[in-house]
Symmetry: C2
Subunit: 235 residues, 2 copies
Amino acid sequence: MASSDRDRTTVAAIKKLILDRRLTPGDPMPTESELMDTLDVSRSSVREAVRTLVALDILQVRHGTGTFVGGMSLRPLVEAMVFRGILSPGDSFDSLREVVEVRMGLDFALAPRVVESLSGTDGGQLHAYVAGMEASAARNERFLADDRAFHLDLAGRLDNRLYAELVAAFWDIHKSTAPSLGMVNRRDLAETAAAHGAMLRTAQAGDLDGYRAAITDHYAPLLRVLADQAQQQAS
Amino acid sequence: MASSDRDRTTVAAIKKLILDRRLTPGDPMPTESELMDTLDVSRSSVREAVRTLVALDILQVRHGTGTFVGGMSLRPLVEAMVFRGILSPGDSFDSLREVVEVRMGLDFALAPRVVESLSGTDGGQLHAYVAGMEASAARNERFLADDRAFHLDLAGRLDNRLYAELVAAFWDIHKSTAPSLGMVNRRDLAETAAAHGAMLRTAQAGDLDGYRAAITDHYAPLLRVLADQAQQQAS
């Protein structure tokens, strides 16, 4: 058996063991020796399969403690996509445009339920995030923490953990790719902060069309910069 | 240095090497020995880092040929999400509902541009896929290939490779999770095939509201089954 086939077999065997024993995220895994005995494979096969499964966040190694079932988060997606985004400098504006468009698509898809959830409410923590962004923009500073908290609050209003994870993952991919492109100026910061405020106000007013327009405004400064940069590159 | 720190360092060093040498997907990587010399790390460190990067599709090993820069596809996402979906039988209807809602969200976000792209056209290959689905449904057979081809054709109408990959990834996650739930009956098949036809017809007619309604109809049979199953489980 070629080593790649053997690896895949051991990976599959460990997954089957997790299922058969009804283990869930955070549960301890059998030791390396137990896995060798149970699956009848070598120590190196177990180690290699565990490494593959750790990379996928299906397993988690806590040093000094042992191996556990992982959170199966979207972290591997973020890692691969961030690397893809910075891989080809020539294509990076295009990669980032694709990421921003996906974020916008997720926001549009989320729009009806966000508006429904916020309509007629006091907006909770969202006002604090918007105020934080506006204050930062006035000082010509970026406002990553408030920005992320704002979008995660919105995404958390669906009864859909996967959707919220995707919103967080693409926010992370976006912000990990964007700094290298050096696209921050005072006008863009102020416009972006204001767009978050408009998203909140329109949602509270139950105004779905206004909310959709605010989403478009939210991404407009960035898409404008990306279009400019792509044009400069082409000329 | 703890082994996990050393691993992360080697993973980061290999990524940096790919960037510094401006390698792109499909390019050959240096040999294991060259990596050991260049990065000044042990053979086992190189092997472990390569395994992590292969799991993320950042590297690819072709046996008998060598190691290459990988496609950085969404395959790792699919693998982790499919496993997460089948991990907790108790939650699997809920996991699948989340996946189906994400697919629906992606389709809604895509809707304006799909309608714009298909309005007034002959619809190309899409008619053949719909005819294939209807023929299969009449024989009480599933129609996975035509179904996937239909959704990928729609997603390919955006100038956004990432979006098309996400549509494909969530199609794969959905179909790899759903069979275990045994939810196929004649009425659902016929209704789903017909909904694809309605999506095509409304898009060709430039009818965005009609297209959105067809998307809702497309997912209705499945969401109905999921709601029934969740209720049976609760009672």
